[in-house]
Amino acid sequence: MAVTKSEVIPIRTEHDIVVARQAVRRLSVEAAFGLVDQTKMVTAASELARNTFIYGGGGTLQCESLLEGARRGLRLTFTDQGPGIADLSLAMKDGWTSGSGMGLGLSGAKRLVNEFEIESVHGQGTRVTITRWK
């Protein structure tokens, strides 16, 4: 598998979430995703970017365009140095929120993509990686 392109977007302000969504939309189009796949990837990115901003206290989004054989894909990595998630299986549960959200961001994002990975160290930060293939 080859990474054909990589860019990093800071997620420091609310507005950066909009910028992140636009970048993911653009890269999804470049990867020749259909309208449904584009929308799924952008929506997943929106959820994770907002978590990075709200709970992680800001961080970064790395976007990588992928090529495996003839198959194109997009991998997004959200990293923050925030408080981390104490109980991952709880956080992944539908409807669980520590704030005032719907508690569907993480679990929903997982359902919207092909691959989903989350690592979080309590007190050190969180990294979520999602990949979608055409």
């Binding site: 609310e14 969504r21 929308t39 929106s46 719907m102 569907l104 929903g108």
Partner: protein, 286 residues
């Protein structure tokens, strides 16, 4: 500067006229007043008035602390200058130059007045320098505050402009939403819609999200809250513009829109609203 009043106070009083002349020359050399945004007479009036209030404040409260109440005329004056400069299109550093240009003339008069006593001169120069820096910083802060206010106001105006509530029919309101639904805007949208429902006594509200590119959990939550509020007021709500890709994504996210009437486009929503209000639309055969 432990012993009593700073010599700066004395110099400000004694050389008020000379300081004005030198300062205006500095300003002119620095480019202020050369581009027609501020006229020479205006600049002259401003500088003169400033030196007047500066002298007064320094005599009544010393030059150590410009936050003291006696200094409020000076601060107010600078706020006024900053505001004017914002509307005249100056940058923050150009605006601060107004104050910083006073440094050299003031130093010059100080050294003339104090003469060869190097220790006193160094002390007084330091005092003067600190004073001008504080005034300059105050000006920059005030400039930025004014500019932020202007931007915020423009943003709010834009928000209101971009969220029209349209009357489609007697008793039927539509709210076409366009763009990203960040929380500030969604709040305004919701409030103006609820208000219009009350004002018009409407029974059905259609929220059209054709122009909203992404519906994530935050947007969904805002929509659901709005629908609930509308229902509590005794009206009905239809969400239109739910394109197939949005519908699929909402389902995968796990958001439950059950109980909310959704339509793919505004036309379908209007047809339903009319039907519910008891209208039938027929086409006249030619």
């Amino acid at each position: 500067m432990a012993s009593g009043v700073s010599r700066v106070v004395e110099v400000l009083k004694k050389y008020e006229k000379e300081l004005l002349t030198d300062w205006l020359a500095e300003l002119k050399a620095g480019g202020t007043g050369n581009d027609g945004r501020v006229s020479e007479t205006e600049l002259h009036t401003q500088a003169k008035e400033f030196l007047g209030t500066l002298g007064e404040a320094s005599r009544s409260a010393g030059v150590g602390d410009i936050e003291r109440p006696e200094w409020s005329p000076v601060r107010d004056f600078l706020d006024g200058v900053s505001r004017a400069r914002v509307t005249q299109g100056y940058s923050s550093d150009q605006t601060a130059t107004f104050i910083f240009s006073l440094k050299r003339p003031l130093f010059k008069r100080l050294s003339k007045e104090i003469g060869s006593d190097a220790k006193v001169l160094a002390e007084e120069t330091w005092t003067a320098s600190e004073l001008i820096d504080k005034l300059g910083l105050h000006t920059i802060k005030s400039f930025q505050k004014t500019r932020e206010d202007v931007i915020n106001r423009q943003q709010e105006e834009m928000l209101e402009l971009s969220t029209p509530v349209v009357k489609l029919w007697d008793g039927v309101l539509a709210l076409p939403m366009i763009g990203t639904l960040d929380s500030a805007r969604t709040q305004i949208v919701m409030e103006s819609l609820l208000q219009r429902i009350v004002d018009t006594g409407s029974e059905i509200a259609i929220i059209d999200i054709t122009g909203v590119p992404t519906v994530d959990t935050l947007v969904a939550q805002h929509l659901l809250k709005t629908v609930t509020a509308i229902r509590l007021m005794g009206a009905d709500c239809i969400i239109s513009g739910v394109r197939p890709q949005i519908a699929q994504t909402i389902v995968h996210l796990g958001v439950d829109l059950q109980g909310v009437i959704t339509k793919a486009n505004l036309a379908d929503a209007l047809a339903l609203a009319l039907k519910r209000s008891g209208y039938t639309v027929t086409r006249n055969k030619a």
